[in-house]
Protein backbone atom coordinates (compact mmCIF):
# COMPACT_ATOMS: atom_id res chain seq x y z
CA UNK A 1 0.00 0.00 0.00
CA UNK A 2 1.40 3.39 -0.94
CA UNK A 3 1.19 6.15 1.56
CA UNK A 4 0.76 9.65 0.28
CA UNK A 5 1.91 12.49 2.48
CA UNK A 6 -0.49 15.38 2.42
CA UNK A 7 0.93 18.81 2.85
CA UNK A 8 -0.73 22.21 2.58
CA UNK A 9 1.33 22.76 -0.58
CA UNK A 10 0.11 19.57 -2.25
CA UNK A 11 -3.52 20.35 -1.44
CA UNK A 12 -3.12 23.96 -2.59
CA UNK A 13 -1.66 22.76 -5.88
CA UNK A 14 -4.52 20.30 -6.26
CA UNK A 15 -7.14 23.00 -5.69
CA UNK A 16 -5.45 25.40 -8.12
CA UNK A 17 -5.22 22.63 -10.69
CA UNK A 18 -8.93 21.89 -10.25
CA UNK A 19 -9.83 25.54 -10.74
CA UNK A 20 -7.66 25.86 -13.84
CA UNK A 21 -8.91 22.67 -15.50
CA UNK A 22 -12.51 23.75 -14.84
CA UNK A 23 -11.81 27.07 -16.58
CA UNK A 24 -10.11 25.33 -19.52
CA UNK A 25 -12.98 22.86 -19.90
CA UNK A 26 -15.43 25.75 -19.87
CA UNK A 27 -13.55 27.66 -22.61
CA UNK A 28 -13.05 24.56 -24.80
CA UNK A 29 -16.73 23.56 -24.40
CA UNK A 30 -17.90 27.03 -25.42
CA UNK A 31 -15.57 27.22 -28.44
CA UNK A 32 -16.31 23.71 -29.73
CA UNK A 33 -20.08 24.25 -29.36
CA UNK A 34 -19.85 27.58 -31.17
CA UNK A 35 -17.84 25.98 -33.98
CA UNK A 36 -20.33 23.10 -34.25
CA UNK A 37 -23.18 25.60 -34.48
CA UNK A 38 -21.39 27.58 -37.21
CA UNK A 39 -20.68 24.38 -39.15
CA UNK A 40 -24.35 23.36 -38.93
CA UNK A 41 -25.61 26.78 -40.01
CA UNK A 42 -23.01 27.40 -42.71
CA UNK A 43 -21.65 24.06 -44.01
CA UNK A 44 -19.44 25.80 -46.62
CA UNK A 45 -17.86 28.11 -44.07
CA UNK A 46 -14.11 28.45 -44.52
CA UNK A 47 -11.92 30.21 -42.02
CA UNK A 48 -9.99 33.17 -43.35
CA UNK A 49 -6.23 33.02 -43.69
CA UNK A 50 -4.21 35.35 -41.55
CA UNK A 51 -0.53 36.05 -42.19
CA UNK A 52 1.06 38.48 -39.78
CA UNK A 53 3.47 39.87 -42.42
CA UNK A 54 0.50 40.75 -44.62
CA UNK A 55 1.87 39.27 -47.86
CA UNK A 56 -1.15 37.04 -48.49
CA UNK A 57 -4.83 37.97 -48.65
CA UNK A 58 -7.72 36.44 -46.65
CA UNK A 59 -7.96 33.56 -49.13
CA UNK A 60 -4.28 32.68 -48.72
CA UNK A 61 -3.38 33.99 -52.19
CA UNK A 62 -0.59 36.37 -53.13
CA UNK A 63 -1.76 39.95 -52.94
CA UNK A 64 -1.90 41.73 -56.28
CA UNK A 65 -1.18 45.39 -56.79
CA UNK A 66 -4.33 47.16 -57.97
CA UNK A 67 -2.29 48.89 -60.65
CA UNK A 68 -1.36 45.49 -62.14
CA UNK A 69 -5.01 44.58 -62.75
CA UNK A 70 -6.68 45.95 -65.86
CA UNK A 71 -10.42 46.13 -66.35
CA UNK A 72 -12.03 46.49 -69.73
CA UNK A 73 -14.21 49.61 -70.02
CA UNK A 74 -17.39 48.67 -71.89
CA UNK A 75 -18.08 52.30 -72.69
CA UNK A 76 -14.93 53.23 -74.60
CA UNK A 77 -13.38 49.80 -75.11
CA UNK A 78 -10.08 50.64 -73.39
CA UNK A 79 -8.32 48.62 -70.69
CA UNK A 80 -8.05 50.74 -67.56
CA UNK A 81 -5.89 50.15 -64.46
CA UNK A 82 -8.08 49.05 -61.48
CA UNK A 83 -6.97 51.91 -59.27
CA UNK A 84 -7.89 54.41 -62.00
CA UNK A 85 -11.21 52.81 -62.96
CA UNK A 86 -13.49 54.99 -60.79
CA UNK A 87 -11.95 58.22 -62.08
CA UNK A 88 -11.99 56.88 -65.65
CA UNK A 89 -15.68 55.87 -65.48
CA UNK A 90 -16.66 59.26 -64.11
CA UNK A 91 -15.06 61.04 -67.07
CA UNK A 92 -15.87 58.37 -69.65
CA UNK A 93 -19.59 58.13 -68.78
CA UNK A 94 -20.15 61.86 -68.30
CA UNK A 95 -18.49 62.50 -71.66
CA UNK A 96 -20.93 60.00 -73.23
CA UNK A 97 -23.92 61.62 -71.54
CA UNK A 98 -23.01 65.02 -72.87
CA UNK A 99 -22.98 63.79 -76.46
Amino acid sequence: MTEETITIDSISNGILNNLLTTLIQDIVARETTQQQLLKTRYPDLRSYYFYPNGSLDINGLQKQQESSQYIHCENCGRDVSANRLAAHLQRCLSRGARR
Binding site: E4, S12, I15, L16, I24, E31, T32
Partner: protein, 96 residues
Protein backbone atom coordinates in the same frame (compact mmCIF):
# COMPACT_ATOMS: atom_id res chain seq x y z
CA UNK B 1 -6.05 9.63 12.90
CA UNK B 2 -6.75 7.16 10.14
CA UNK B 3 -8.36 9.36 7.60
CA UNK B 4 -8.20 8.47 3.95
CA UNK B 5 -6.30 11.00 1.76
CA UNK B 6 -9.15 11.41 -0.70
CA UNK B 7 -11.58 11.81 2.16
CA UNK B 8 -9.48 14.54 3.75
CA UNK B 9 -9.12 16.35 0.42
CA UNK B 10 -12.85 16.24 -0.22
CA UNK B 11 -13.53 17.52 3.32
CA UNK B 12 -11.20 20.47 2.78
CA UNK B 13 -12.76 21.17 -0.60
CA UNK B 14 -16.24 21.02 0.95
CA UNK B 15 -15.20 23.40 3.71
CA UNK B 16 -13.78 25.87 1.17
CA UNK B 17 -16.99 25.76 -0.87
CA UNK B 18 -19.28 26.11 2.15
CA UNK B 19 -17.30 29.01 3.59
CA UNK B 20 -17.52 30.87 0.28
CA UNK B 21 -13.74 31.00 -0.04
CA UNK B 22 -13.68 28.70 -3.04
CA UNK B 23 -15.78 31.19 -5.00
CA UNK B 24 -13.60 34.09 -3.85
CA UNK B 25 -10.42 32.33 -5.01
CA UNK B 26 -12.09 31.26 -8.25
CA UNK B 27 -13.20 34.83 -9.02
CA UNK B 28 -9.73 36.18 -8.23
CA UNK B 29 -8.14 33.61 -10.54
CA UNK B 30 -10.61 34.34 -13.36
CA UNK B 31 -10.04 38.10 -13.09
CA UNK B 32 -6.25 37.70 -13.16
CA UNK B 33 -6.30 35.29 -16.11
CA UNK B 34 -8.60 37.59 -18.05
CA UNK B 35 -6.40 40.58 -17.29
CA UNK B 36 -3.18 38.90 -18.43
CA UNK B 37 -4.80 37.72 -21.69
CA UNK B 38 -4.69 34.03 -20.82
CA UNK B 39 -8.41 33.53 -21.60
CA UNK B 40 -8.01 35.00 -25.11
CA UNK B 41 -4.89 32.93 -25.71
CA UNK B 42 -6.69 29.71 -24.71
CA UNK B 43 -9.61 30.63 -27.01
CA UNK B 44 -7.19 31.20 -29.91
CA UNK B 45 -5.38 27.95 -29.09
CA UNK B 46 -8.71 26.06 -29.09
CA UNK B 47 -9.64 27.55 -32.48
CA UNK B 48 -6.28 26.67 -34.02
CA UNK B 49 -6.44 23.12 -32.59
CA UNK B 50 -9.91 22.70 -34.12
CA UNK B 51 -8.53 23.87 -37.48
CA UNK B 52 -5.43 21.65 -37.31
CA UNK B 53 -7.35 18.53 -36.24
CA UNK B 54 -10.38 19.40 -38.39
CA UNK B 55 -12.52 18.32 -35.45
CA UNK B 56 -14.91 19.90 -32.97
CA UNK B 57 -14.91 16.89 -30.64
CA UNK B 58 -14.72 18.24 -27.07
CA UNK B 59 -12.68 15.36 -25.59
CA UNK B 60 -10.16 15.35 -28.43
CA UNK B 61 -9.63 19.12 -28.42
CA UNK B 62 -9.50 19.27 -24.61
CA UNK B 63 -6.76 16.63 -24.48
CA UNK B 64 -4.49 18.76 -26.68
CA UNK B 65 -5.44 22.18 -25.29
CA UNK B 66 -5.36 21.39 -21.54
CA UNK B 67 -1.62 20.73 -21.03
CA UNK B 68 -0.63 23.73 -23.16
CA UNK B 69 -3.13 26.02 -21.42
CA UNK B 70 -1.86 24.96 -17.98
CA UNK B 71 1.68 25.88 -19.02
CA UNK B 72 0.51 29.26 -20.25
CA UNK B 73 -0.55 30.44 -16.78
CA UNK B 74 1.93 33.08 -15.62
CA UNK B 75 4.10 32.39 -12.56
CA UNK B 76 2.89 35.53 -10.82
CA UNK B 77 -0.80 34.53 -11.06
CA UNK B 78 0.00 30.98 -10.02
CA UNK B 79 1.98 32.16 -6.99
CA UNK B 80 -0.57 34.78 -5.90
CA UNK B 81 -3.52 32.37 -6.04
CA UNK B 82 -1.52 29.56 -4.42
CA UNK B 83 -0.59 31.93 -1.61
CA UNK B 84 -4.26 32.80 -1.11
CA UNK B 85 -5.26 29.11 -1.02
CA UNK B 86 -2.43 28.32 1.41
CA UNK B 87 -3.55 31.11 3.76
CA UNK B 88 -7.09 29.73 3.84
CA UNK B 89 -5.82 26.20 4.41
CA UNK B 90 -3.53 27.30 7.22
CA UNK B 91 -6.54 28.98 8.82
CA UNK B 92 -8.46 25.71 8.75
CA UNK B 93 -5.56 23.74 10.23
CA UNK B 94 -5.17 26.24 13.06
CA UNK B 95 -8.82 26.17 14.04
CA UNK B 96 -9.27 22.39 13.99
Amino acid sequence: MTMDTAQLKSQIQQYLVESGNYELISNELKARLLQEGWVDKVKDLTKSEMNINESTNFTQILSTVEPKALEMVSDSTRETVLKQIREFLEGIVDTQ
